[in-house]
């Protein structure tokens, strides 16, 4: 199946291009670029649509962590099945609630707050305006009368002030940008500026498409992004750089041994040689993530979706985007030693 190379007699004077096992990536560069460009464009359109949507008004649908408010999650104690319950029943109950006053603030209006009934009616999630701790307790106690009893340890209440969300967003963005700059500096020192630029470009590509995916999910399914999404994006960024660096390292390593060949050939050889590793590594990273996706708790579902997608895009950009752009940006162009009809290249002397 694989053509055997000439026995490794390194003394032969004429260099031999190592056999290409799978494919020559630079031959398919236009498809790769178009694919990525279209994906980026779709992502940008999704974010623009989100922004223009009056109900969202931001590139992504912000969750409680960023908008502020109170989220109450209740587990009903049922034995063995919960009496059926509908969203409108819960909403009706909400309208009749009497809340204690908080010093110096008017009692928030709970009418029209989004309500979700999950897991065949056994758990309820409420999204309310910002409540004080006392008011939150009052909501739970009064709902327990009509919808309860609730499981004693199954309640969760989150109240987040809007200032905290803004602070979280700002500090996440700053730390991301600083780490990008530091990574670019490191790659510039270890490789050169073009490599650093392309590594960051590939990273931006992965983060952009993952963000775009969630913009569309927000538009179509109402999926919100929370602070775990920010963590997922950071993870994707780290993974993307690692993936790209492996290919770049291979290109640098074989620079001297393949000096006689055009640069695009060197890229082809490097991508081809690292392809098995790229695929295996993505696979091994994705396995635990898929585990969480299918069997983990609901709290981590969208987090693992973001990571799975981002790692997929990261593998793609390290194969199809960063290496194929390398000859273009390093000013060496796409000259191939072999004819374009794809005959197996064996030598070039």
């Amino acid at each position: 199946m694989t053509p055997s190379p000439a026995p490794a007699s390194s003394a032969t004077p004429s260099p031999v291009l190592p056999p290409i096992q799978y494919f020559r990536i630079t031959r398919h560069r236009r498809i790769a670029w178009w694919g990525s460009a279209v994906a980026c464009l779709i992502s940008l359109i999704g974010m623009a649509l989100c922004w223009l949507n009056p109900a969202i008004g931001a590139p992504l649908k912000p969750g409680l962590d960023f908008t502020g408010g109170t989220r109450i999650q209740l587990e009903r104690a049922c034995d063995p099945n919960c009496p059926a319950i509908t969203v409108s029943q819960v909403a009706e109950q909400l309208e009749d609630l009497q809340l204690p006053e908080d010093a110096g603030a008017s009692v928030p209006d709970l009418r029209g707050s989004p309500v979700q009934v999950l897991d065949q009616g056994s758990s309820i999630e409420l999204r309310l305006p910002s409540l004080s701790a006392e008011q939150g307790t009052a909501v739970i106690e009064q709902l327990a009368g009509s919808l309860g009893p609730f499981k004693p340890g199954g309640t969760s209440v989150d109240t987040i002030g809007p200032t905290l969300g803004a602070q979280l967003l700002r500090s996440s963005l700053i730390s991301l940008l600083v780490s990008f700059a530091a990574i670019a500096l490191y790659i510039t020192l270890r490789y050169d500026r073009v490599f650093a630029f392309l590594a960051i470009l590939a990273l931006a590509h992965d983060v952009l498409i993952t963000t775009g995916l969630f913009a569309w999910l927000g538009l179509l399914l109402g999926v919100e992004v929370d602070s775990l999404f920010a963590v997922a994006l950071i993870t994707v960024a780290g993974y993307s750089v690692n993936d790209t660096v492996v290919v770049f390292d291979r290109i640098r390593e074989q620079k001297t041994s393949l000096e006689a060949f055009p640069f695009s050939d060197q890229v082809d050889v490097a991508v081809d040689a690292t392809l098995t590793r790229s695929i295996y590594t993505s696979l091994t990273t994705l396995l635990p993530l898929l585990g969480i996706l299918f069997f983990g708790g609901s709290s981590l579902f969208w987090f693992s979706v973001a990571l799975t997608a981002g790692i997929g895009f990261g593998s793609w950009s390290s194969i199809g985007v960063a290496p194929t752009l390398l000859p273009l940006f390093s000013g060496k162009g796409f000259v191939s030693s072999a004819p374009e009809d794809g005959a197996s290249p064996t030598g070039a002397a």
């Binding site: 002030g161 730390s175 775990l228 993870t235 750089v241 660096v245 983990g296």
Partner: protein, 504 residues
């Protein structure tokens, strides 16, 4: 081969040590995993203070710490974040409204004169208070000395203050305090101290001077002797009030009480020489032969009391213990199932070295958890995400190495040379990948907020350990295997059809 065996013994010893660490120091779980309440507080500027600074934050924290301790929630922690925020964690607490009430009012610092004719009673109470405080202090210091095991050797122990059981029982009985049956000595003394405090405060006149007239508090070393004094500076109005207050009790046996949030934090006498006009000029010092630490405590409390900065609760998160337990269980099971598949994959694809990598990666997970327990790192959901990603990176390191070994074998190298070549060729890309990862971790840890920090910590630890296990554990184990001739077969590494020529 003796070297490999020695290294193998070292790895084995490390694994046993890691197991022992995990056994004796349990992992600390964050509130999102074990349930509890977390409140984030913003300290707001008020009055003359336009922006809250570190120093003022410490002072507010000192005041709030006392109130939080009064809630009696075990293991509650109050930490400062940045320049103007505090985070209160209440593990196991389901109802944060009780804690929220504590932050409703600002600190109240009062200067009060003792009521006439109560000198005898006051002396008795203060004697009890000193005794109780010094016993508590001693047991606290003993506990921390036990933990550090750094008590100065050879030094004869100072005559220890003690509270004989019958004296304690009598004191409690005299004051009418009932303690729950089975309460330890410390709890009894604390109950006694509470009651004594209440009674001491009851012996004071109503306050005529409050903390809002106190400008600053400081501390200075005594000119003679090694003790410390605490200094007070009042504004003009406060200076006049303080002069009147001190004049009224100067020379008598009545004391000047400093009360913070209804708790008497200091009792001072005013000497005869101030009987004419009181302590004037708006500045005073409390001379109590304080140690540097005691002086600092009093100073911070006074400063906290002089700064009635309001706090606002900006975030409350409550997770029920059931939800927490469910979160950790499902996530753990899912991640473990995924990792089991990774192990199967490694063995199928890489054969013998794949099996070695599985052992090395198990050791890696063990070292990781032991490090979390040792530092200690509080595990949260983002922290677990960081752990899983670091496992991905550790597997990647092994994949990189074994792919290189395969390549070397395919190009006709001998087995041992291929293994060595694989490790050294893969080294630079492993290093670069890990270093870039560590760079992001440092940036995220330095600049990120709580959630992101937890992620950066576990990922950073994971990356450092992965460098060690991939490059040493896997290698040592593999080399050790290769010392057995019947394991030294290229087909244990690669399907025979991929080998260039019939292997020897």
């Amino acid at each position: 081969m003796a070297r490999q065996q020695g290294l193998f013994a070292l790895i084995l010893a490390l694994a046993i040590a890691a197991g022992a660490v995990l056994f004796s120091f349990p992992l600390q779980l964050g509130l999102d995993l074990r349930g509890g309440s977390q409140l984030t507080l913003q300290v707001l500027p008020a009055g003359a203070i336009k922006t809250v600074k570190r120093e003022q934050l410490e002072a507010v924290k000192e005041v709030l710490d006392r109130r939080v301790n009064g809630l009696g929630v075990a293991e509650s922690t109050l930490q400062t974040i940045g320049d103007d925020q505090l985070v209160l964690q209440l593990p196991g607490e389901q109802d944060p409204s009780r804690a929220a009430k504590v932050f409703g009012t600002t600190a109240l610092l009062e200067f009060r004169a003792q009521k006439p004719g109560t000198e005898g009673e006051m002396q008795g109470l203060l004697r009890l208070k000193r005794q109780a405080q010094s016993v508590l202090e001693l047991s606290r210091r003993r506990a921390s000395a036990d933990a550090n095991q750094s008590a100065a050797p050879g030094q004869p122990p100072a005559p220890a203050p003690s509270f004989p059981a019958e004296d304690l029982a009598k004191a409690l009985g005299d004051l009418g305090v009932t303690v729950p049956a089975g309460a330890g000595e410390t709890e009894q003394i604390e109950a006694l101290l509470d009651e004594v405090n209440k009674r001491v405060v009851a012996l004071y006149e109503p306050a005529t001077l409050t903390g809002k007239d106190l400008v600053t508090a400081g501390r200075q070393q005594q000119q003679t002797g090694s003790g410390w004094d605490v200094t007070l500076n009042f504004n003009r109005q406060g200076g006049e009030g303080f002069a009147r207050l001190t004049q009224s009790i100067a020379g008598s046996n009545r004391l000047l009480g400093i009360v913070l949030d209804g708790r008497s934090i200091s009792e001072a006498s005013v000497s005869q020489e101030f009987a004419a006009a009181g302590i004037t000029g708006g500045a005073a010092s409390i001379t109590g032969n304080f140690s540097a630490e005691e002086a600092r405590d009093l100073e911070v409390q006074l400063r906290g009391g002089s700064l009635p900065l309001p706090v606002k609760i900006i975030e409350v998160r409550t997770v029920g213990p059931l939800l927490g337990a469910e979160n950790i269980r499902t996530s753990l099971v899912a991640a473990l199932a995924g990792l089991a598949l990774v192990a199967v994959f490694m063995v199928v694809v890489y054969r013998l070295p794949g099996a070695v990598a599985v052992v090395a990666l198990s050791l890696y997970a063990l070292f990781n958890l032991a490090t979390y327990a040792l530092i200690p790192v509080t595990l949260t959901l983002p922290g677990i995400a960081g752990f899983i990603l670091s496992i991905g990176m550790a597997v990647d390191a092994n994949v990189l190495i074994f792919e290189r070994v395969k390549e070397e074998l395919r190009s006709g190298n001998t087995l041992i040379r291929s293994i060595d070549g694989g490790f050294s060729l893969a080294f630079t890309s492993i290093l670069d990948g890990h270093v870039t990862g560590l760079i992001s971790c440092i940036a995220l840890f330095a600049l990120g907020t709580g959630l992101v920090k937890g992620f950066a910590v576990t990922l950073g630890i994971g990356l450092l350990l992965s460098l060690f296990t991939a490059l040493s554990c896997t290698r040592v184990l593999l080399r050790l295997m290769m010392s057995y001739p019947n394991l030294r077969r290229p087909t244990y590494f690669l399907p025979s059809r991929q080998l260039p020529s019939p292997a020897a």
